[in-house]
Structure formats: structure tokens, C-alpha cells
Symmetry: none
Subunit: 226 residues, 2 copies
């Protein structure tokens, strides 16, 4: 279990030193820089578990850093700090790819708790297309190697290809595509697995959907072991 390392971009030195003091006590290693320019340089370096960015900085702002980091496809969790507590600001930051937003003034205890909550989750998936083996699934157009999937097919297949080689319980597949409708039945899933297999076959893919009796289904490209 490694302790957390964060980058903290904040121009108010007095605030920063107080915060850093408490973060260190909580076993969080902090690299602090006071300017957006320096922040930008460090933010894209690997090794940080989280970036904490003040929005209002002279010159390069926290906002700029956020956009640059995300435009490079990096998925480091980002928490934005700002004196602006307006909902609009929060929404804009979150939609631009920030993971959390904390308005100033804040208690460091809350910052620490939010940092921990952020870093216990795995990195972000930004790509609009999911790949596995020889498959390319275009999420927004619901195209699997070019052939279109229907809505239900897509719901189910997305779950499978997001977790290849992992069993998806039938109940979960059912819940995903049909919600908690009372009338839903296992046979729905079976029917659609049949459809999906047919499409995989027609594509000549090496990937197949395997049944694990009593558990569920998984997408795999392994050959059967005899």
C-alpha cells in the first residue's frame, strides 16, 4: 500500500502551507507549486495520484491545466479548488473532466476525505471506442466492427466488452438492459446472447461469448482447452 502523492497548485502561500502541513500529517506527500506555468509542467508528469488545482491563478489558470491534462488523454483524478461557489462553475469544471470541486474556504479534513475517496477508484476510461481482441466497438454509434447493434444488444455487449474475460452474472445483464421490471425473464438474456454470437460469428471474430453455467457469460478469445 503506497501512500498518496499529489500535486497542489495554489498561489496563496499562507493557505498552502497550512493545508500542506495537515496533508503531511495524513500521510499524503505534496508537491506544491505556486504558479500555473509550473503546475502545467508538472501536471502531465507521471507519478501523481491526484491533482489539486486552484482555479484562480495569475497567468495559466487551474482551468487551463485541467483542460490541457484531459486533452492529452491523461486520467489522473483532479480536484478543483475555487473561491467561486456558484453551481455553474462547479458544473463547468466537472463537465470539463474534473472529478470533484471544493469551494473555498474549506476544512482540510474534507479535502483529505475527498482525496481518499477519489484515489481509491481506478483510472478513467476516455476512449469512445472499446477494443478487445480483434473487436472494435464504437459506443456512440453502436457499431461492432462496422455492423450495427440494436439497443438491447448494445447494452449487453457493452457490459461484456468493458470487462472482457470476466463473468457477467446473468442477473446483472438482465438488470442492465431491462431494469428491475417484474416481467423480465432469463430467456431475454439467452435470446440476445444468441443474437450476439451470431454477429460475432459473421464478423469472423476470434472472440466468443462463453457461458458459465449457473453464473453468467463472458467475452473471451481463448481457445477451448480439452
Amino acid at each position: 500500500m503506497h501512500s498518496m502523492r499529489i500535486l497542489y497548485v495554489e498561489d496563496e502561500a499562507y493557505l498552502a502551507s497550512a493545508v500542506i502541513h495537515l496533508l503531511k500529517k495524513a500521510d499524503i506527500a505534496v508537491d506544491w507549486v505556486a504558479s500555473g506555468e509550473e503546475g502545467l509542467k508538472l501536471a502531465t508528469k507521471p507519478g501523481y495520484d491526484c491533482l489539486v488545482l486552484d482555479i484562480m491563478l495569475p497567468g495559466v489558470s487551474g482551468w487551463d491545466i485541467l483542460k490541457e491534462v484531459r486533452s492529452q488523454g491523461l486520467t489522473t483524478p483532479i480536484l478543483m479548488l475555487s473561491a467561486l461557489a456558484e453551481v455553474d462553475d462547479k458544473v463547468r469544471a466537472l463537465e470539463a473532466g474534473a472529478d470533484d470541486y471544493l469551494a473555498k474556504p474549506f476544512k482540510t479534513a474534507e479535502l483529505i476525505a475527498r482525496l481518499k475517496a477519489l484515489t481509491r477508484r481506478p483510472p478513467l476510461q476516455t476512449d469512445e471506442t472499446l477494443r478487445y481482441a480483434d473487436l472494435e466497438y464504437d459506443l456512440s454509434n453502436r457499431l461492432l466492427n462496422g455492423t450495427p447493434l440494436t439497443a438491447k444488444e448494445a447494452e449487453l455487449f457493452e457490459l461484456l466488452i468493458r470487462h472482457p474475460e470476466q463473468i457477467q452474472p446473468k442477473a446483472q445483464l438482465l438488470a442492465r438492459a431491462w431494469g428491475n421490471e417484474a416481467a423480465s425473464s432469463d430467456n431475454y438474456v439467452e435470446v440476445y446472447m444468441s443474437y450476439l454470437r451470431k454477429k460475432l460469428e459473421q464478423l469472423g471474430s476470434s472472440a466468443t461469448i462463453k457461458t458459465i453455467r449457473n453464473l453468467g457469460y463472458k467475452l473471451t478469445s481463448e481457445k477451448d482447452v480439452s
Copy 2:
């Protein structure tokens, strides 16, 4: 692209209906329940991308639901709602496994932005594997060094590998896999031990299942002492 599906537990019907209306506009499917009891039942069902829990509920509270969900090892993102804006409350919720915390009153736009921020990261996965000697047993896929076990085989083998070198009474093995069925017989266990031994053999494992006459079976890697 699948739309988000969330569970929303909130006892204030007026607030809930306003929020739900806006969430639906943002293409978020909402299952709403007004009581903690119902919430608890649904929260552990698969299929939700996020749980939104009001803390203050009569009877079972959002707090209780949070703890129950996490104690079951589920990793669904959870956002807590509360009229309490105290830092302590926030910290406690986040440390108990919540992913975000929003104080009431809030703007739905912020809720939506936070939901999106939470769900664009892929779910944590926790697949447990048990190890002993040269064996690796993948619980969720029921794979023993790659080869699949059937349901009954899995029940029995799990008990053995969880307590290696320890005798598992035949009666306990029987109870585990067949419950208290009147029709069950010792021969069931014997048959399945035979199957399991065959699979261990095929894997060329150094581990074997040893019989202790009149007592039961144990998984061991020790050589026979002659």
C-alpha cells in the same frame, strides 16, 4: 452508449419528483424509493451505475444503506445527500466508503455533473483468488488453475482450500453443498471428491485431497509418510 441508471432513496416526495424530472431530461434513468427499507433491498441488486442516498430517513437511514452495501464488498459509486453541511458529516460519509457528498439544498445541475463525474470512471473490480501450494482458485470464475469447476465441485473445493491442512468433516461438506436435503447421502461427497481428485491429477498439482477415515477430508501438499 448506455444511459445511466441510478437508485435514488429520498423520503421527501416533493423534492424527489422535481429532481427526477430534471434527471430524466439529462437522460438518467431513475428508480426512486421513499423508504430506507426499500432502498436497502434494491441497493444491493445489480444494475445501478450509482446510488444516491439521502442520509436522514425514518427507520433505515442512508447511512445504514451505505454501510451495508460496502460491507457486502460492492463497489457501486455512492453519492450521499444530506441537510447536514458539517465537515464532520462529510468526512464520516466519505471515509465510510461514499464517493461524494452533496449538502441540501442543492441545484440539480450540480447533482447531474457530479453523477457524471462519478460514473465516467469504470467500476472497481474485486476478484478474489485463493491460493495454496501450486493451486490458484479464482472464486468468481470458479477456475482452478484455469480449469472450470462445476457448481457442486466449487462449493466443496472452496471449503477445502479456505482451510488447507485442516480436516473438513464429511457432514459439513455435505451440509455446505446440499443443505439439509433429506435425500442427501455420504456418497454424494465421495463421488465429488473423486471428481476433484481427477482434476487435481490432470493439473499435475502437488496438492492432494486426503481422506481421514471416519472424519472427513483435507487438502494437503505433504507427501505420505510410510
